[in-house]
Point group: C2
Chain length 349, copies 2
């Protein structure tokens, strides 16, 4: 085989791996959105089997050999060319994944799936003790994972690398060391001033109208409904099951407008990023976001830089008032804008 | 390995195969119930990859060797014991599947998935020509499949065997040769008498109330909602994604009561059969209905023998009248019973 044939063969093997990855995602999406509770144990088995298969297929000697053989070829390409990036990104992932035993992958997939179910029940019944043993098991599995990457500078480095390739815990600490004093000062300064009134956001808002307004806005953002759908789940998320099938979820609070609205804006940002991926990259390890940081930059762009901006609401606030005249007819654009930008410490942020 | 260890090893391999089978079913269920149209090609790839993987895993030499080694052991067991049946049923399927090339499995899964999408569109727009090329491709794939089983008595035998293991086209023809003259005579005799009035079934019926009544009845039949769910799809079906996750679908006609109601009864019959499978058989080739004939016997039991019986409606008709007083308050139980049992030739039956 010459280099181009090897590259074609590599892509064909990666296509199979990537199909498995997406099927794992469908199993997860379905568990969170549709699956009846009776499916829990069977789903955990399915996730374990599929995740392990994906792992075994990806860490095969054949893929390793092709990647090794293709290094000189990749070196001759424009480093920004898709093929050069594919070889680089895939080689990096290959080197990582081959340090992880397949049985750990199966155990982790099963524990995560069982743990999700326990989390859901603990959340619904406000009873942390239901979730605690599952959390402990999942944390211990993560610790086990870190050990595969010894020696490390910090135990969190191998885990962090899953979200933001290459970054070190030390660097994140430096960023926060610099930001934290400024943030604390800022929040204190805000706290010293009279608090903004956002009581109008805490009223009964019809769920269907919340859904419709959110859908209208994200359609205008560019979210393509022919290549996606929205459902309700306990915690909002975005899942790409293919470049033509990027799904978002949200959740509704009957007495608080901001929750579903901004989560829908947020998830649409993740989804638009995924829907925008070049079809040439489909079914390879380039057919996804480059990192969690980049992904969050896109979701928060739509949620905050756009969705909490004054200019945005000049256009959309009259429309929102049409949806909810009883609640908002007497709230001015300026009050609304202040209300949705109210800053206060919360339990998670 | 002694025989018991070999059996344990066989089961463990079959568990993996069966997980893949169920994931294929989830991919199909999702395509018919939830997937946006943009997912079509990606889903076809996923189905091809997963179906092929399932096939390759199942037709492995390791499973073949274990089955061969276990034949004497199986011969010593009570022929009705689960393990004896498992070895027998799995050996039969293994012998069949090893005659089928893996690439045919992939091509067929892809063609079926693409074909489903075309069928859906052709159906919605009443335009057969959209579906015709896909139908031709799928028929030609089935013809190709039959060739793997040459010599055969009848080209349909290898296909029929997928639905009803062991039966021959000749036998089905004999059954129909005997039944047809009696059926024709019966339908003619019915046609000679004054037709039953079922006009009250053809009125507007609120969709949500149709849903609720159907759900109430199948709950009483024993359908377990903690191990299942109902959705809407273009054509009603049942899919088992696990013994704890057996899903049904239905479709609603706004102006005809019988359609969704009897299809819900029907699918619940399929589902109750699947939900009733012994958990000891889970994740093996015994964790499903024994044949299509047995499956239809269960669905039609609930749809017809129960759901169209007079005694059933003595109990449920007053309840149905509460759901639809405007439409049914003035229709007697006897008229209703006659109406739902009206016999007339249709395009499919």
């Amino acid at each position: 085989m010459d280099d181009e044939q090897k590259l074609t063969q590599l892509k064909s093997l990666l296509n199979e791996v990537w199909d498995l990855r997406r099927v794992v995602r469908l199993l997860q999406w379905d568990q969170q959105v549709k699956m009846p509770i009776g499916g829990t144990h069977g789903r955990a088995h399915q996730l374990a089997t599929l995740s392990q298969l994906e792992h075994v297929k990806f860490t095969s000697e054949e893929i390793g050999q092709l990647l090794e053989d293709l290094q000189p070829y990749a070196g001759q390409l424009d480093p920004d060319a898709n093929d050069a990036r594919l070889i680089r990104v895939t080689t990096r992932r290959y080197k990582k994944k081959t340090r992880v035993p397949a049985d750990w992958v199966a155990r982790k997939a099963e524990a995560a799936s069982e743990g999700y179910r326990a989390w859901e029940e603990a959340r619904a019944t406000d009873n942390f003790s239901l979730f605690q043993p599952y959390l402990e098991k999942n944390v211990s599995l993560r610790q086990e994972y870190a050990e595969f990457f010894k020696p490390y500078e910090h135990v969190y480095d191998p885990l962090l690398d899953e979200f933001e390739p290459g970054i070190k815990t030390r660097e994140v600490q430096q960023i926060f060391d610099e930001l934290r004093p400024q943030q604390v000062a800022l929040i204190q300064a805000i706290g010293d001033r009279p608090q903004v009134d956002d009581s109008f956001l805490h009223q009964p808002f019809d769920e269907k109208k919340q859904w419709d307004f959110g859908a209208e806005v994200v359609t205008r953002f560019g979210y393509d409904w022919k290549r996606g759908r929205q459902d309700v789940s306990p915690h909002p998320f975005t899942e790409s099951l293919g470049l033509g099938d990027v799904r978002i979820t949200t959740r509704f609070m009957p007495d608080y407008l901001s929750s579903a609205m901004f989560s829908t804006f947020h998830e649409s940002g993740h989804a638009i990023y995924e829907q925008g991926i070049d079809p040439d990259l489909d079914r390879t390890h380039l057919a996804t976001g480059a990192s969690l940081g980049l992904h969050e930059s896109q979701s928060r762009l739509y949620e905050n830089l756009v969705g909490r901006s004054y200019d945005f609401w000049i256009h959309f606030y009259p429309r929102l008032q049409e949806y909810f005249p009883m609640q908002l007819a007497n709230v001015s654009l300026e009050s609304f804008y202040s209300g949705i930008n109210k800053v206060e410490p919360s339990l998670i942020r």
